[in-house]
Symmetry: C2
Subunit: 487 residues, 2 copies
Amino acid sequence: MFADINLTENKPIYTQIHDYIKEMIKTGMLPHGSKLPSTRELSKIINVSRNSIMKAYETLEDDELVYTIKGKGTFVSDVKIILEDKWTIDWINNINDYALKSDKLDIIKTEKKYKKGMISFKSIAPDGSLFDMEEFKRAFSSRISMEREKILNYGYAQGYKPLIDYLMEYMESKGVNTTNKDILITNGFTEGFDIVLSSLTKKGDKLLCENPTHNTALKIMKLQGLDIIGVDMNEDGLDISKLKSSLNDNDIKIAYLVPSYHNPTGIVTSSEKRQEIYNILKNHNIPIIEDGFNEELLHLGSHIAPIAAFCGEGNGVIYIGSFSKILFPGMRIGWILGDKKLIDILESVKRSKNIHTSFLDQALLYEYLKNGGFDKYLKKARKFYKDKYTLAVKLATKYIPCESIVGDGGLHIFIKLKNIDSRELLNECYKKGVLFLPGDIFSTNNQGKNTFRLGFSRVSDEDMEKGFKIIGECIKDLSINNLYNNK
Amino acid sequence: MFADINLTENKPIYTQIHDYIKEMIKTGMLPHGSKLPSTRELSKIINVSRNSIMKAYETLEDDELVYTIKGKGTFVSDVKIILEDKWTIDWINNINDYALKSDKLDIIKTEKKYKKGMISFKSIAPDGSLFDMEEFKRAFSSRISMEREKILNYGYAQGYKPLIDYLMEYMESKGVNTTNKDILITNGFTEGFDIVLSSLTKKGDKLLCENPTHNTALKIMKLQGLDIIGVDMNEDGLDISKLKSSLNDNDIKIAYLVPSYHNPTGIVTSSEKRQEIYNILKNHNIPIIEDGFNEELLHLGSHIAPIAAFCGEGNGVIYIGSFSKILFPGMRIGWILGDKKLIDILESVKRSKNIHTSFLDQALLYEYLKNGGFDKYLKKARKFYKDKYTLAVKLATKYIPCESIVGDGGLHIFIKLKNIDSRELLNECYKKGVLFLPGDIFSTNNQGKNTFRLGFSRVSDEDMEKGFKIIGECIKDLSINNLYNNK
């Protein structure tokens, strides 16, 4: 840029150089701390005497626009950059409906916030203290020494091949027939679901799901502009007669189901019921997106295969898996298993969204899984969360007056209250330092106002007891108030 | 599920148990390798004599549906699961326009593929052998020992705080005023651009950009259904008079610019021209998305500030940065710097797309950057790629007959041919084992048919000479043919 100085004859050379550099500094083109060329260099570049340059630099220094460090050179000072007028765009009025909705539906922003010292039952993130860090470090050393710098360079949109192969076998071990199927690695379940919906549905399409359902999935459906047909649940899962009438009354494009430790109810749908639901949807030719949520916590002996296992060589089920609900959620790794041709298309969608999921993370996860770290971890995690669940049910039964406590295990239980609004309850609990997620955020039709979810995965046994007690007391207070107000 | 057996009185108990389990195996509900309850357990569960269970298991074994391992238990054999009829969905006719376009615009699928032994100038990925793996391993050890399992659990949508702080300072060092601005971490440039466009634009909106331009950016614009207004480039960047007339003729919503080592032309826009472009767009109140592509390869002494530096406390420029074009692209880390309120909205969009970018990767990159690994690397990389660039220009001048060789450095040069179609040239070169990207894929209006991009970052000096020579020979052959055909 210094070569661009146009020197004229009617002003001293050094003044022209001074003014030129001053202009560059004042407009921010020469930022604070940047180094000017040496006087010798500049004199060569613009072909004027070194004396003129030195004089120009001296006057710049007098103006406090630059400073010199002996033996190092001349640098731009911290000058307030002068701009004639600030260019201000009203971004909030420039964002589109999608962004606006993303903001409005963001429960991190809208729900009550955790403050230090509170007891929070909001989260269903795993307890990190169960992670085997030594095993993870070993996985790093061993994978890095094998892959070297390759693992830090660009990879493939579909995913890290060894991980894909591992997951194909893993799905086979769950009873899924992988003939003519393939896997796409995604940034967790959320991206998997977003990719599937944004590739298969159009605004206004009808999607059938359980009511209530996973709030993040619900958000993505709403962002895609889908017409959400929620089917109520009984204590053993979907209400089959309601499912049938919903299918008869609506032209459903696709179904979304969470058969294991359903979020938020915690219900595990039995094999028989899975088969029944599968058959009904198959007979209506409605493809199923199965959310493999927390399936890994099912005890090995339970023999409950995913819905995807029922379709054999058929391709009507898209399975979205993720270990991240119980293992390393910070790495954001999930997968979509489905028809080979469909996965090939989704791979291009993935590529256009963010090229691929971190190859480093995929390789580390693969190494960790293949070395048996996962099996060891699962054994520990199943026991840990089962104990927590048993305690949660026991304590909820003891302390929380309610209509029902639902949930078969996993990382949360679901409470239905008698004639009490869970938002009112939350307000009272919050004052006493206890937090949970009210049920309305999981509802497809703005119901569930007397329900709430209690995540217990990261709460100590002591805090669980303390927290449940407070919830119970707040319920009693509200009941008395209600009674009083109704009189 | 075993508890669900309904035993009747008109058939032997063991036959009923046998049939029930057989049915579960045949339908896939009991997958291959899963373990049956022990005879003792099952006799308790369904309350029948252990003898009946043993007999049932024996007949199942006779049918080869299960096998017994002494001391371990009874397991399900590898049985072909029988499904009455295969449920087949024609997925390709079920995908929407977005997915269809993603597939069609995916140059990994549409362009000629690399085969072993070929010389490929397609890629502008960095040369991984420059990565300092020892430094990276140190970054892992040190960050993991500090953050422990925390870094593997859920993080925040905006990003890893230390990395955000580091990047804010980094942008300040480039002369950007960060007052009332903030940063969102994304999965590389691609996701950053996708998030910005999908939050700010609507189908049919007019986007102004350089013509030609970055093909991935072009793909994302097309996927968003934007009306792309390309402005032709001169050898020093945008043609200013064409920029002005485009602005006068069109109601432009937003502009996208690549001022450094522009992809595909390799042009670095001068500071003066950046200022001029900035002023013109500002006067039209057209927000600018600045792609910081390969800016890190600019020599420190060049003092070329990003366009974002010109707006001071103003908020008209959204800057998307990424180290990943030269460092660790496999980790997919980029960032959006812009108005604080806008970033707050984009954070929710990011959260709804994939919760957050891998916290492990962000923490590792942060550690690597802060320990000075990046500065050391940049010094080495700048020298390495500058030498490669100098050689590329020298060899192209020597071997490739053409109208012009464009590019100021970086990882690629751009060739304009005289009356030769670059796809025809590619066909010929491919036969001789040489690959490059034809210019039409970078064009906003289906032009550039006589241009192509040569990426040299991962090609050895010997292969570069060999490859360029072959390209030159093919051009000569085509010229002779053209001459002959025109006679």
